[in-house]
């Protein structure tokens, strides 16, 4: 019987991230084309430097609303006609803002590309922002706000950002805005935002899939070559100041069936030279299923269905967050165990064997991440958004392999800061308050869900 002997890996076959070419049209529009011939599928994705980081105080959510308004009517077609135009092709156009950019994308079957791309360009270039559609989308966003405020996970995420970043900082408010800020947005705000930031110099069109490189470039040139506009001013991505010192906030939700926990502090920008070291360190701390925090809270103690940690990578320092939902009675214990894991990560080098869990995983999983045209297009969009090196994906696995146990220790010591930990607990105050107060994690304050 050979069952007991574990198979060893065979010789690995080489993999390369898809080849891509970069071009700049005369109007300044950048184009990236990556021919990938597996199935007759094409993804078209436009990255525009019009993220939520450009929202002004008081009208947060403008970038998001502007992105959604693109498809609600153009100079030539109303919203219904646009919608029908895409869906007749078996596709739909997605548009949304992230912190550092707006992304507009569609995935369609190859033979629809020549029909779909001009429509895509029309939406990007000539939206007309009908006022009744602005009103409708605002009302839909307000309904969504009510849903988020009654949903413990979303509530915890938002309350945590608000606790972490000071009032007035863009990161303190959700990408899509709040009830108050959404209500304050006018059609004129949308038109002005679009006019300022949606210009060819600030945009990149990415085409991935079953296409020929020069054919794709010609299609983009035909559709968007005549797009004109002055370059947008550069955005200020300087780090927002954050709250410091330990503190806990309880968002009171009586009779909650569980407690949602968020713990963390402001992290580091995507451009930080320690990026790979931090990625590996976080994988071991809370990024992987077999990470220290998850094995402790879930597999050792059964406190939770899952616990994880992540650095939210943005141009400016996004949050470092440990996130879990636990049985209310063990909220304090769960935080205590998490603190133990943080200290362990910061006090001693990880064994080489444990390090290889993360490095082998990230190296091996690399080709699995890029199976689809939309995943490849998103990866290429990150090159644009974060100004990554041209060979970022070709050197990714080498960079992962180069991380040492010492690097992980230093990354933990520098970038996970227990003395700055802030926590938010959405849960039943009758159960969670007392134990959390005795945790010694700074002052404990309360607020009601409607404030978040």
């Amino acid at each position: 019987m050979t069952v007991a002997s574990r198979p060893l890996p065979a010789q690995a076959r080489e993999y390369r991230f898809p080849r891509f070419s970069r071009h700049t049209l005369e109007n300044g529009l950048r184009v990236i084309v990556a021919p990938v011939r597996k199935l007759p599928v094409v993804t078209v994705l436009a990255v525009v430097d019009a993220g939520a980081n450009r929202d002004k105080n008081g009208i947060e959510g403008l970038a998001q609303l502007t992105a959604e308004m693109l498809r609600e009517g153009t100079e030539k077609h109303n919203g219904i006609e646009i919608l029908e135009g895409f869906e007749r092709l078996g596709s739909s156009i997605e548009a949304g803002a992230d912190w550092d950019s707006t992304i507009v994308s569609m995935t369609l079957l190859r033979h629809h590309l020549t029909t779909g791309l001009p429509l895509f360009a029309e939406v990007l270039r000539t939206p007309s922002f009908p006022s009744h559609e602005v009103d409708r989308l605002k009302a839909e966003r307000l309904a969504e706000r009510l849903q988020i405020l009654s949903e413990p996970r979303g509530l915890a995420d938002e309350a945590f950002s608000k606790f972490l970043y000071p009032p007035g900082s863009r990161y303190a408010e959700p990408i899509g805005g709040t009830g108050k800020s959404i209500s304050a947005i006018t059609r004129e705000n949308v038109i002005e935002f679009f006019g300022r930031f949606y210009v060819p110099m600030s945009a990149t069109v990415i085409i991935v899939g079953d296409v020929d490189g020069s054919e794709a470039l010609d299609l983009v040139r035909d559709a968007l070559g005549q797009w004109h506009g002055a370059p947008a001013p550069s955005v200020d991505s300087t780090a927002a100041e954050t709250q410091t010192g330990r503190a806990l906030e309880i968002v009171d939700k009586s009779d909650a069936a569980q407690a949602e926990l968020r713990l963390g502090h402001a992290g580091i920008p995507r451009s930080h030279p320690d990026y790979f070291k931090v990625v590996i360190m976080n994988a071991l701390l809370g990024g992987l299923f077999s990470s220290r925090i998850n094995l402790n809270l879930r597999e050792r103690h059964g406190y939770t269905y899952g616990a994880s940690s992540y650095f939210d990578w943005r141009r400016a320092p996004g949050p470092f967050v440990i996130s879990t939902a636990v049985q209310s009675e063990v909220s304090a214990e769960a935080i205590r165990e998490t603190l133990i894991e943080i200290d362990r990560m910061r006090s001693k080098e990880v064994p080489a064997d444990e390090l290889s869990l993360a490095t082998n995983y990230l190296e091996g999983v690399f080709p699995i991440r890029y199976e689809t045209t939309s995943a490849i297009a998103s990866a290429l969009a990150n090159i644009v958004i974060f100004n990554l090196r041209e060979d970022f994906y070709d050197t990714y696995r080498d960079n992962i392999r180069a991380v040492t146990p010492k690097d992980v220790l230093v990354a933990a010591q520098l970038h996970v800061q227990p003395e700055k930990l802030l926590g938010v607990v959405v849960g039943d105050p009758a159960i969670v308050s007392k134990p959390l107060e005795s945790l010694g994690l700074g002052p404990v304050s309360h607020r009601s869900p409607a404030d978040a």
């Binding site: 597996k38 033979h111 094995l295 091996g364």
Partner: protein, 441 residues
Amino acid sequence: MQETTIMQIPIETLRLNNGLLVTLSEDRTAPIVAVNLWYHVGSANEKEGRTGFAHLFEHMLFQGSEHVGSNEHFELIQRAGGTLNGSTWLERTNYYETVPSNQLALALWLEADRMGYLLPAMTQDKLDNQRDVVKNERRWSVDNQPYGTWMERLSALTFPEPHPFHHSLIGSMEDLSAASLDDIKHFFSSFYTPDNAVLSIAGDFDPAEVKQFVEQYFGVIPRGKNRPSLLGMDLPETFGESLRLVVEDDVALPRLYVAFRSPVFGSDSYYVASVVGAILGMRRGSRLHRSLVRERQIAADATAFTFDLAKGSDLLVVDVVGRPETTPEKLEREVNREIDLLMTNGATQEEVDRAIALIETDMITAMQSASERADRLSMFATFFGDPKLINQQSDKYRSVTLTQVDNFARAKLGVNNRASLLFVPKAEKAGEVESVEPAAA
């Protein structure tokens, strides 16, 4: 200028002497391979007093087997650079990993070890731990989520007791507490046998080599015996009456689910039902979205979907969330009016074409992923013994006609076949609902 070529993926099938059905689909474009196992057992197979057991059991399959330590399955696959998980549904439980192709043998060996040699690794401590984890999963996904109970409520409403689809998939806290090691042993020997499973492998592999691995690792596992059969699955074609349940809950907006009893997954009329669902609620151009969200603005969102049940009967479900100012009564009235309209006036050819085009793009796009490919091969092999059905799906959708759609709507969308589950914001929440987020920002 519709191109008529339909995507065909290569498929090879073999059956081991112990009954294990194996499907292979080669694709050498990237050095990765997906391994996918479907066991033909789900919550429908649970005995009385053990709701949630099939899912708890799924958790136990990650707790080690005779030659694999606790949690080592996860660690070995992640160390190999792979992704993995499992899931439980009413009729099946699946386990899957995608790994770099040079690690295929490891993934197969791990699956074989837990199919053949699970029990020596099962302990009371592990069961107690995973019971706690699953109870927290229930709290997280059901009890602490707005509308989180929708699925168990809808199943209970639409499948009369003691139909095997009637009870909760995630299970009750009481039944989870009652699960014992004896239950584990019995469930394992009854259902986790090679003749009750399908193994699919999709991606980069050498067919001769992979057959050798499969025979070597799985071939020695004995066939099962005395598998308990399901209780009667058959049901009348419609509910025969209007079913309705109103739930006051800690939610901000009213939400209505309308379920129709519908033909089983894979039957000819399933494809018609699926197109009807897409006409009603797939994407923003669908009827419900256009009418209720866009034009009349009484709903915040509207979708439709099928459960894809292959035995007894399926459910076609419409799911509409009301706007804050829409009363639950109005939401229910207007959704029903839209359904009535489709039933009495029928659809248009454009609507049918739109639905089929969207479904087809989704199907082909999903096939880019080895894991999706393998999972669908397992599905067709498990339910119909024929993985090659995967290559006929486009044809089956394309052959749905407007007449079939209209006939289906008339026969199945009537009031005698509607089960409505209406979530209503709790009375004390009403004040908050009316003023939109007063204290925000």
